[in-house]
Each structure stands twice: as C-alpha cells, then as structure tokens.
C-alpha cells in the first residue's frame, strides 16, 4: 500500500536482519504474474444429478471467497558491482529496483557512501529507460521521496556522484525499503495492503540493498609507437629508399592538460613532407593554426587540453624515408 506510515521505528530490527535478507533474496519468483493484492478469488462448484423424475437438474454450491493479500517484496541490483571513474566527471551509478510484490507500493531509497565527503543526494529515475543517465530526459528524485512502483515494475535509479569527491575510491550503497513495512518474512501489517486487506512481508523482507564500488583510474596517459615499412620493391625490408611510417597512439584516461607529443626524426632518415596526420586529418608541416608542425629533425603535435569525456585516444602518424 502506498503512502501510509514510514517504518522509521524499525531501523534496529532491519540492521539485524540484513544477513537474512541477502540469503533469501535469491528465492525464485513465480513464472506467472502474481495475482494483484485485493483481488477477490471466488470459487463456486456446480453439481448435477439424476432426479427421481429422470431429469438432470443442476445446482450450485455456495461461493467461497478469498482475498489476495498484499505481499511486500522488493529487489535491488547495481548496474555494476565495480566501476572506474575518470578525473572530475559526474558518475551516474545505476541501481535497478524491482517491485516483486503484488501491490502498488511506495519505497524509500537510502543512499550511502563508504567514504566521507561524498555527496549522494542527487538521484534521478531513468525515465526513458535507456539505461544511460540523461540530465534532460531523466527525472530527478528528491532524497527521501517515495519511489512508487506497480507490481512487477522495474525502474533504474541513478545516483549522481562527483568523481572528484571519491578520493581513493568508495562504495556507493543503496537500500530500498517498502514504506508499508518490512521485517521478517510473514510479518503482517493489518489492513495496510492494497484493497484494504493485510500486507504481509514476503521472502525478501520487503527491503534489499546493493553496492557499487567506485575506483579512480590511474591518471597517467599512455603513448604507444609502432612502425611499418614499405620498400621501393614493394617489400617490407628496411633498405635505402624505403618509407617508414610511424604510428603513435596516445591514450588518455581522464582530463589531461597541455598535452604535447614530440618525436625526433631518426638519424639516417629524412622526414617525408606533408605526411603528418592526426587521427583522420592531415596536418600541415608549417607552424600555423593546426596542431602539428614538422621539420627535418622532429615532429610536434600539441593536443592541448584533453577533456575528461573526450576521445579515449588520439593517433598521430608520420613517415620518414631511409637514406
């Protein structure tokens, strides 16, 4: 049932029950959709018999009615048990909450961080359901606000974390709890269920938690060099007149400032004019508005500031001729 009383007075019990919850959260859900809470289940039998006059009259029994009570269940799973963060990006840590009960239920989400100083008060619901946080498409969820889910409904909630705050890393935890009540399986909340019936805590304890470990990646960029040779005779032999093409791949794992890549032209070779390239674009050899310059002795590409969310790698290519 929605929006009644919070189970604020039950904190102590919940903490003690954590082990039980994790052990029972794996109980398989029925293959068929659960009967919604409040549904009346009416049974009537029909009886036919042979009467004394030879007719076959039918009669019906009384109707016995059961009401499906509300079962309180919930599961939560982190999108990733562990993930790396880069620089000062905003990380959207996703948790998938599923109402595995049979009533429309309000849930409370409690978010925590293992490390101090990490703000975890920005939440958003993945409204468009694409699994990726979008500031425009996904609706903000105020801390402590109810997350209302219909039976079987699955919703992803993002916790927006500033990666600059996590220091050496932290675990973001999320605990979801049914507002009608939680506790040991079988605990009954009289008349608190959908349809006015009782609400009964199911196997999940009506509360569940998940964590996602955030770790900053090492911030050092990488530079990998490779070469290919094309001789005048079409072979790959390094003979005079052969063209050697060098390929430099610079990898970045976060925001990196003032990036400059220098590579001297090897002794015994001469630079092939106009062969300097950055990714898919040719750079002029002159020191002009583009990022690259080349001379007889060296090439230089100034990439400047690489944004945290920019391309993960840049590829520089140039050729020399063996003298």
């Amino acid at each position: 049932m929605q929006a009644r009383k919070d189970s604020g007075g039950r904190i102590g019990r919940k903490a003690a029950l954590r082990v039980v919850v994790s052990a029972t959260a794996l109980v398989a859900t029925p293959a068929f959709a659960a009967t919604p809470a409040g549904t009346p289940i009416a049974n009537t039998a029909t009886l036919t018999f042979q009467a004394a006059d030879g007719s076959s009259p039918a009669l019906t029994s009384n109707t016995v009615t059961l009401q499906a009570a509300e079962i309180l269940n919930v599961t939560i799973a982190a999108d990733a048990e562990a993930r790396t963060t880069r620089g000062n990006e905003t990380v959207a840590v996703g948790f998938v909450v599923t109402n595995t009960g049979n009533g429309t239920e309000d849930y409370t989400l409690a978010i925590g961080s293992a490390a101090a100083g990490v703000a975890v008060d920005r939440l958003a619901v993945d409204s468009d359901g694409d699994g990726v946080y979008s500031a425009t498409a996904d609706q903000a969820l105020a801390p402590g606000a109810a997350l209302t889910l219909t039976p079987g409904q699955v919703v992803r909630v993002f916790v927006l974390v500033d990666a600059a705050q996590i220091g050496g890393g932290t675990a973001i935890s999320a605990r979801v709890t049914a507002r009608t009540g939680s506790g040991a399986a079988g605990t009954t909340f009289p008349a608190a269920g959908d349809g006015g019936g009782d609400a009964i805590v199911g196997a999940t304890g009506a509360t569940a938690s998940a964590t996602s470990q955030l770790s900053p990646t090492a911030g050092l960029p990488t530079l990998t060099k490779s070469q290919s040779v094309l001789a005048p005779d079409g072979s790959a032999r390094a003979i005079p007149g052969a063209i050697v093409t060098y390929r430099l791949v610079a990898g970045f794992v976060g925001a990196t400032r003032g990036v400059v890549i220098d590579d001297p032209v090897p002794a015994g070779t001469s630079y092939v004019p106009g062969s300097l390239r950055l990714d898919d674009a040719t750079l002029t050899d002159a020191g002009d508005t583009d990022a690259g310059t080349a001379s007889a002795t060296a090439i230089r590409v100034a990439l400047g500031d690489v944004a945290a969310d920019g391309a993960g790698s840049r590829t520089i290519q140039f050729s020399v001729k063996i003298q």
């Binding site: 029925p30 068929f32 959709a33 659960a34 009967t35 549904t39 289940i41 009416a42 049974n43 009537t44 039998a45 029909t46 009886l47 036919t48 018999f49 042979q50 009467a51 004394a52 076959s56 009259p57 009669l59 019906t60 029994s61 009384n62 109707t63 016995v64 009615t65 059961l66 009401q67 499906a68 009570a69 509300e70 079962i71 049979n102 040991a184 079988g186 605990t187 009954t188 009289p190 019936g197 009782d198 009964i200 199911g202």
Partner: protein
Amino acid sequence: MFKPLRLAILSTSAVALPALAAGPLQVESKVFAEQKTRAADGTVRVALAPVRRVVPGDRVTFILAYRNTGAQPIGNVVLDNPVPKGIAYRAPAATSAAPELSVDGKTYGSLANLRVATATGTTRAATADDVTHVRWRLARPITAGAQGQLAFEAVLR
C-alpha cells in the same frame, strides 16, 4: 512471527458458510490453507485451516462437501468446479479421489491426455497451470443420509 492477530483472523474466517440445498442434495464449497504452527518443542505442524486471506504462492485446498439428506439414493452425480481466476490447479488432495481435468471446460481427462493450443497454431502438452476445470463423476449413487467430500490442491498465482 505467530501473532495473536493471525489467530483472530482464523477465528473470524471459520464462520460456517450456508450450504445451498436443492431438495435432498446439499453441496458446500470450502477453502482451506496450510497453517504451520511451531510447537514448544520446536516441531512444526502443518494443518489445514479455513482462511479468507492468501498471498501469491500460498497453497490452498478447495473442498466440496456433499450430503444426501433425503430418503432415496441419488445417482449420476457430477460435481464440476471451474478453477477461479488467479488460482492454479496443482493436485488432488491427499484424501480425495482424483478429479478429471479440463483446459477448456469441454474435454475432460487426465493431464497427460490434454493439449493446449499455442500462438503458433500448434499444440503442446498441458500443464497444471493450464487447468480451467476440475470434475468428479461419482461412480455410485449417494445413498440416503450419506455424505462425502472431494478436494483439490491449488496455489494462488
């Protein structure tokens, strides 16, 4: 876990339901659920008790009790129980004769002989979840004053 509250519910739901009568033959429909009680020595007893409230996954037993209150035997008695929506048939109750089953209310037989049409136009073997009706045909007349009961077990979907 076992609260006085639940006891109260049990006592209110145990109120006898009126049986409908047509001449001398009476039939009463009842529903019971398994109630587990833990004794002081730690043993758990499972007993059937009348209930009005169940949650998905709960096992329930539907019972049809019949009685011939007249002075003459009544023959060719057939009891047909459409399975309520939200209920999945599971098995005959331990104390009851096995019913004939149907997945359409027309053809009756054992589960192994029933088939269900699929969306692709073929058929597949029926499962207990597909059962829509259970039926008992009494082989012998109910003699004057005799009574009996038939039952099946089911689960709330």
